[in-house]
Amino acid sequence: MHEFSLVKSLLRQVNEIAEQHGATCVEEVKIEIGPLTGVEKILVQEAFELLSPDLPGSDCRLTIIEVPLQAICNSCGKSIVVQNFQFQWTACVSPNIRITSGDAFRLLDVTIDTELTTGVTEP
């Protein structure tokens, strides 16, 4: 859903970070998506190609990390990968699990070039 507006919001956040750090060029943006994020990878890529020329340097690369849908069983503490959206954890008495990854659209890293010689590594 709404890959275009999500990528717009992503780029707004990347721009803010680039500005804070005095970037002359944004080289790479790394994001994470998963099966329950509700986005299609190809459409995210297309939206990025269309919108990213507005970033400093105008030649930014998007790296998409696709993570599986992972969860932790609330009763036995075991970490599991959820396949085909089947959330019943049959090896355990409890069907009660908490999703730990694969349901969000996360901005992981931004790689920039700066004129400065001292590199800032914290956001």
Binding site: I17, F87, D103, R106, T111
Partner: protein, 225 residues
């Protein structure tokens, strides 16, 4: 030139989620349970709200924010029964927290026991937007087919309750209630499931009793914290 990699590791919707959490917190403190009703168009969200308003009249103070792309038809249907504010989104296919905050202001921020939000008819996008609700309620009607939960996993996964609507039509349809429930529970085992008809009012008293209990639970949890 210095190349630097800045670690961010943040959900890009974090800001909206925080706003929704603040709204939820605010309404919790005043004892208002917020419900987000989601379903396809025509499942019977407005009809269910009409039935609830009649059933709980004089027992609970209620209000509705109802979303549609255009017209105030649903608000007009509900207005004789319950305080209501229509949210029209133009083209947008789901509600967002900013629209809910505006609607809540327009409604006059009354002291309520339950605030219902009727979302735009759509089983896709509303699943990804926290409206500051305490509970998300999915509706599925017998005319939509019993195979729908598995097709829209995010919506059913993120729901707390499932209301099967139009059960008065079961004699005329090949809808298998057990199959629909099984499909939904594979995705969300914790769903509280209800069977209702807004026409015959079958199942409406049970559903309303559940709503009263949920509201009492909220009040109790706010008092202890």
């Amino acid at each position: 030139m210095t190349k630097t990699t800045i670690r961010v590791n943040r959900d890009i919707q974090a800001e909206k989620r925080e706003r929704a959490a603040a709204f939820r917190e605010k309404l919790s403190r005043q004892g208002t349970l917020v419900l987000n009703l989601v379903s396809s168009p025509g499942t019977g969200k407005t009809a269910l709200l009409e039935a609830i308003a009649k059933e709980l009249k004089g027992r609970l103070r209620m209000g509705v924010l109802v979303g549609d792309l255009a017209t105030d038809r649903d608000a007009q249907r509900l207005a004789p029964l319950i305080p209501v504010e229509q949210l029209t989104t133009g083209g947008a296919c789901h509600l967002e927290i900013s629209l809910v905050e505006q609607g809540w202001q327009k409604l006059g921020e009354p002291e309520l026991d339950i605030l219902f939000i009727e979302n735009i008819g759509n089983l896709v996008c509303p699943a990804s937007h926290d409206l500051g609700e305490h509970m998300r309620v999915s509706l599925l009607s017998t005319t939509e087919g019993d195979d729908k939960p598995g097709k829209y996993p995010k919506m059913f996964r993120t729901s707390d309750a499932l209301v099967l609507t139009k059960i008065d039509l079961l004699p005329y349809l090949p809808f298998r209630v057990e199959a629909a429930i099984e499909d939904a529970r594979l995705i969300q085992p914790d769903l509280d499931i209800f069977h209702t008809s807004a026409i015959t009012t079958e199942g409406i008293p049970d559903w309303c009793e559940y709503l009263e209990q949920q509201r009492q639970k909220l009040v109790a949890s706010v008092q202890t914290s």
